[in-house]
């Protein structure tokens, strides 16, 4: 039994480490060029945002249309902490996430008392309020024209791309691991119970408001981290980061990947980020792709790619012998037929 637990931890662990290390090395060796590296890294940020939206919408079951607001708070937060307060970058990234989480806590109080549509609209309203405030606090945020951030990952030209990749994809893997640990526990079950049936959850000892708040705060923390990683990656942020469009982009990853599936939203984020790049030649027609995908998914496959299931590396590993047998069996058959 103990071996099984160890094995179940080892397989995804190894996959996670490989995902961080192997491409990083390839980037450093220039096997993967700078452009592709940037796309992968950006997809990583989008994946973290997708996870944030998934936590609040898919797992906690509360539709939030303002997660980009927390991302912006994290982004501006990391700039202020590093540039103005001279805190080292690594620490300020975590602190910025905590700042976003704190605002999530404040905003959660009025918001989570509401249901369904109203909750969605209020989160949208808060996202807009954050954007308006960021635009108008010119002294701190640099106003609508945005703010430069000099402490970037890419200050070092030789290692820059690799550092960005490792920092962001590494954070992504870490977030996935910790989140899965949290969800596959009694706390995770409590949050899922709230999503499934509030009255039954309440009657069985799970404080509904408390666990909605837990989900909301975790989601805002993750969004804040996404923003806090985005700022040193890109080096320049604008209040537009908090816009509704940005929140919707993250929502699209989750809808496509499957509400409630963390791995699903990560995969969708990578696929769609790549798609946006590949389709650059379509110019402004590109902007139609996302919403059209959204409608098609809603009409024909509302549960998205993975529904509420997670991609299980353990199951993949176990399936390899069977797959191998199939392939070799087919090859043998072709050979005998050819004769």
């Amino acid at each position: 039994m103990k071996n099984k637990i160890l094995r179940n931890m080892l397989i995804p662990g190894v996959v996670g480490v490989l995902c961080v290390v192997v491409p990083a090395v390839l980037i450093q060796l220039r096997v993967i060029n700078g452009y592709t590296a940037q796309i992968l890294t950006l997809a990583g940020v989008n994946a973290i945002m997708a996870i944030s939206v998934n936590v609040i919408c898919g797992i906690t079951g509360q539709l939030s249309l303002g997660q980009a607001g927390f991302q912006a708070l994290g982004a501006y937060g990391v700039i202020l902490l590093t540039a103005n307060c001279h805190i080292p970058l690594g620490v300020s990234i975590v602190l910025a996430g905590l700042i976003a989480a704190f605002f999530g806590f404040l905003i959660g109080f009025p918001t989570l008392k509401l249901e369904g549509d109203y909750l969605a609209i209020v989160t949208l309203a808060f996202g807009e309020i954050i954007r308006v405030v960021l635009v108008n606090l010119k002294g701190i945020t640099g106003g609508p024209n945005g703010k430069q951030f000099s402490t970037v990952f890419t200050t070092s030209l030789t290692y820059g791309a690799m550092i960005s990749y490792v920092a962001i994809i590494g954070s992504l893997v870490l977030i996935i691991v910790l989140l899965q640990n949290f969800l596959r526990s009694t706390y995770g079950r409590a949050i899922l119970a709230v999503r499934e049936d509030e009255i039954a959850a309440n009657s069985n000892g799970v404080g509904v408001f408390k666990y909605k708040m837990v989900g909301f705060v975790i989601a805002s923390f993750i969004a804040g981290i996404a923003g806090a990683l985005y700022a040193p990656f890109i080096g320049f942020i604008k209040p537009d980061l908090a816009s509704f469009n940005n929140s919707i982009n993250a929502l699209i990853y989750v809808v496509l990947g499957g509400m409630g599936s963390v791995t699903g939203s990560v995969i969708a984020a990578f696929v769609l980020t790549e798609l946006q790049e590949v389709l650059r030649f379509l110019k402004d027609y590109r902007l139609l792709i996302y919403p059209v995908i959204l409608i098609l998914v809603m009409l024909f496959r509302p549960q998205g790619l993975l529904g509420t299931k997670e991609l299980s590396f353990v199951k993949c590993w176990d399936g390899i012998p069977g797959l191998w047998k199939k392939i070799t069996g087919k090859l043998k058959k072709n050979n005998t037929e050819a004769k």
């Binding site: 526990s185 899922l192 009657s203 069985n204």
Partner: protein
């Protein structure tokens, strides 16, 4: 407050008003430890509304409810939330099954064990030894309970895929998992056939003894009600119209008038062969 003999729950003249309509008027009930009491009456009489008041989903507009919790402290529980009441020792099932459909049978039960958890967020995030111990304990308790109700083999099935009768049983298992002192069962036998109902009656008797429960149940199935309830309260239009032993209720003209249900005819013909006569419709 001092503990009054073995009183578990006392509802004193509780009423509730919904936008001008008084759904329940002056309902009073004393539940003593270990009792198995039935709440019956025609549809719409207010039985589930009373359950909702006792379990914290509705707050009574009048009257007082006091409960003696697991910690032997007596409290007024009018304003407490369902989660707080669950922690104090009240658990319930629902008229329309409310399971956590897309979660497994095992997880449904484990959720009720959440409030007795022994881990912090740190333990959970970093999968400490304490976490594993707690999880194993929860799994053990869950399997033990599922075994009693003969649905252990379905542990990893999704709750919504279970047949109806087993879903009802699962709801009871889940309620038991929160270690209650008072169990409220809302139509536990609904949709069950005769064989399943007999089995359920056995199970209810068993869990009452095994888990030291006080049980209040709502039911329309007269066989179950007459079979296991020690006393009954009859509700009609939000008021208690009769209360007492099952035999007395059977022959109570007010109750007969309020429509005991189509089972009545069968019961009358059954009991004419038995000892307690129910023929004379005289005054109480």
């Amino acid at each position: 407050m001092e503990k009054e003999d073995d009183l578990v729950l006392r509802a004193k003249d509780i009423s509730i008003v919904f936008g001008g309509l008084k759904a329940v008027t002056d309902f009073s009930l004393d539940l003593h430890e270990g009792e198995l009491v039935g709440l019956i009456g025609p549809n719409g009489a207010g039985k589930t509304t009373i359950f909702n008041m006792l379990s914290g989903i509705y707050k009574p507009t009048d009257g007082v409810v006091t409960f003696c919790g697991r910690d032997d402290k007596i409290r007024v529980i009018n304003k407490k939330s369902p989660a707080e009441l669950n922690k104090l020792g009240i658990a319930r099932t629902f008229q329309n099954i409310r399971l956590f459909g897309s979660l497994t049978v095992g997880d449904n039960v484990k959720i009720a064990l959440h409030q007795s958890r022994n881990v912090s967020s740190f333990d959970v995030l970093f999968r400490t030894f304490k976490f594993r111990k707690d999880e194993n304990l929860m799994t053990e308790k869950t399997e033990h309970l599922l075994e009693i109700f003969h649905i252990l083999d379905k542990k990893n099935e999704l709750a919504r895929n279970l047949p109806y009768g087993e879903q009802r049983k699962l709801e009871i298992v889940r309620a038991l998992a929160s270690n209650p002192k008072l169990l409220l069962l809302d139509e536990p036998a609904a949709g069950m056939n005769e064989q399943e109902t007999v089995e359920l009656m056995e199970l209810i008797r068993f869990i009452r003894k095994e888990f030291n429960l006080t049980i209040l149940l709502i039911e329309h199935d007269m066989h179950l009600v007459m079979g296991i309830c020690e006393r009954l309260m009859v509700l009609d239009y939000g008021r208690v119209i009769a209360s007492g032993l099952p035999n007395e209720i059977q022959s109570n003209p007010a109750v007969i008038k309020a429509y005991l249900g189509s089972d009545y005819e069968k019961m009358v013909s059954d009991s004419t062969e038995g000892s307690s006569g129910a023929k004379e419709g005289g005054a109480e």
